[in-house]
Symmetry: C2
Subunit: 246 residues, 2 copies
């Protein structure tokens, strides 16, 4: 009777860990967002599968917890890492309302890391991860974080940089950052990570400001040592070294 | 003739992705820090193995690049993710000095994510990753980042929180953060991730300040919505929700 919250990494199952796949192999029920359940159906179709669509995350958590309370071993799957803007937090919060169950989070590769690998090595030094979605966070809070992250010269990784209703948000975010970082700052966009159409693009912060990205993109804004090397986005390991090289 | 820079995740190979293991299976040469080469020797001992000790990272990169230029397929292995304080950046920087080779970074699970999974769900919302090592970064730069990250109410994840020569650094870092975050802020320490003695501990920021951690620890400082739930460290998905719940 245990609930695993399992990150599958980006794209297909070759990007999941052996431990994550072992847990799916050995559990009785797999719950998840419809798209991820389809992803695992071929290999794990013999399990009891529970899926709910987007925006029914709370219901999905309740179903998974209730199956666990019936004495089954249950895996709730997420793309990327379940602990980064993922379902792990919600599971703990909602589980408080029920009899105690054992919960284990099984990490996966989050988009910050898988997108970075496509672009080169942007996250080699201190970085901040910020979501531009204002669904659960006031935009003023997001702006404040962008300001401080830029002032601190963090490499900045943006999740949810755009959606149908929010196509101006990346431009607004770049304008905040441009108040503190140079327009020539090396930036990158990782698209469709681990899927068909996977693509990395390197551009300046000034160019990024005027670029439309889709919701399958992760965006990176370099620090003052980030350079374009052989077509890749590469951040220096340190400031003394950066100074020596640059 | 290709050089892969491969993250193995934390601890044993069950935390590596299928893709990472496929690459090790199919390459001719595996290079890495002595400790990681020992980790893979049992399974991949039939390969040509190249190891160099700590602080010989540059030499290790040169050896890997030179083997690649001989026409071999080479995998440089790192623990965690090769792109987060890892070897991927150095490989790109040093490869500039040689004839062009193809380089691919293969992501792994970084300590921020694997440690978070042990503690619960601390990184559910925006976060900053900061290394306390001042080997390549001036301490003033690190302090500035701690200040801004605390002011922005990021969850903060600290790499390299301590070493033999730097046992006071975590205390100094906590003092910077205490200027902006409450002493009751929920914090966590993940130790020996994926290894014998793996352990998570939840404590307040005030307690963390007076705690000695070793170099095999990753430290987490919550944001204003982070709570202790059923013995775990859990950050809320958002501020409106946090406000409703809290």
């Amino acid at each position: 009777m245990k609930l695993y919250v399992v990150g599958l990494g980006p794209g297909d199952l070759s990007q999941a860990t052996g431990r994550a796949l072992d847990i799916l192999e050995n559990c009785q029920v797999i719950a998840g967002y419809t798209v991820y359940i389809e992803l695992i159906r071929e290999r794990f179709g013999s399990k009891e599968l529970i899926s709910t669509p987007m925006k029914q995350e709370v219901k999905r958590c309740r179903l998974a917890i209730e199956e666990t309370l019936k004495g089954k071993s249950v895996a709730m799957v997420c793309s990327g890492d379940a602990g980064v803007y993922g379902m792990a937090g919600l599971i703990y919060e909602i589980a408080q309302e029920y009899d105690p169950i054992e919960i284990e989070v099984v990490p996966g590769i989050t988009a910050a890391c898988s997108g970075a690998a496509i672009l080169g090595a942007p996250l080699i030094h201190d970085f901040a991860v910020i979501s531009l979605s204002d669904l659960l966070t006031p935009w003023e809070q997001i702006e404040k974080r962008l300001d401080y992250a830029a002032m601190a010269d963090f490499v900045i990784c943006l999740y949810n940089p755009s959606s149908k209703k929010r196509h101006e948000y990346l431009k607004k975010a770049c304008d905040r950052i441009l108040a503190h970082k140079d327009g020539s700052t090396v930036c990158g966009i990782a698209q469709n990570i681990g899927r068909d159409g996977e693509r990395g693009r390197i551009l300046s912060l000034k160019e990024l400001r005027d670029t439309q990205v889709d919701m399958f993109s992760t965006v990176y804004i370099g620090n003052s040592t980030t350079r374009k090397i052989a077509g890749k986005m590469v951040t220096s390991r340190g400031y003394r070294i950066g100074g020596d090289n640059g």
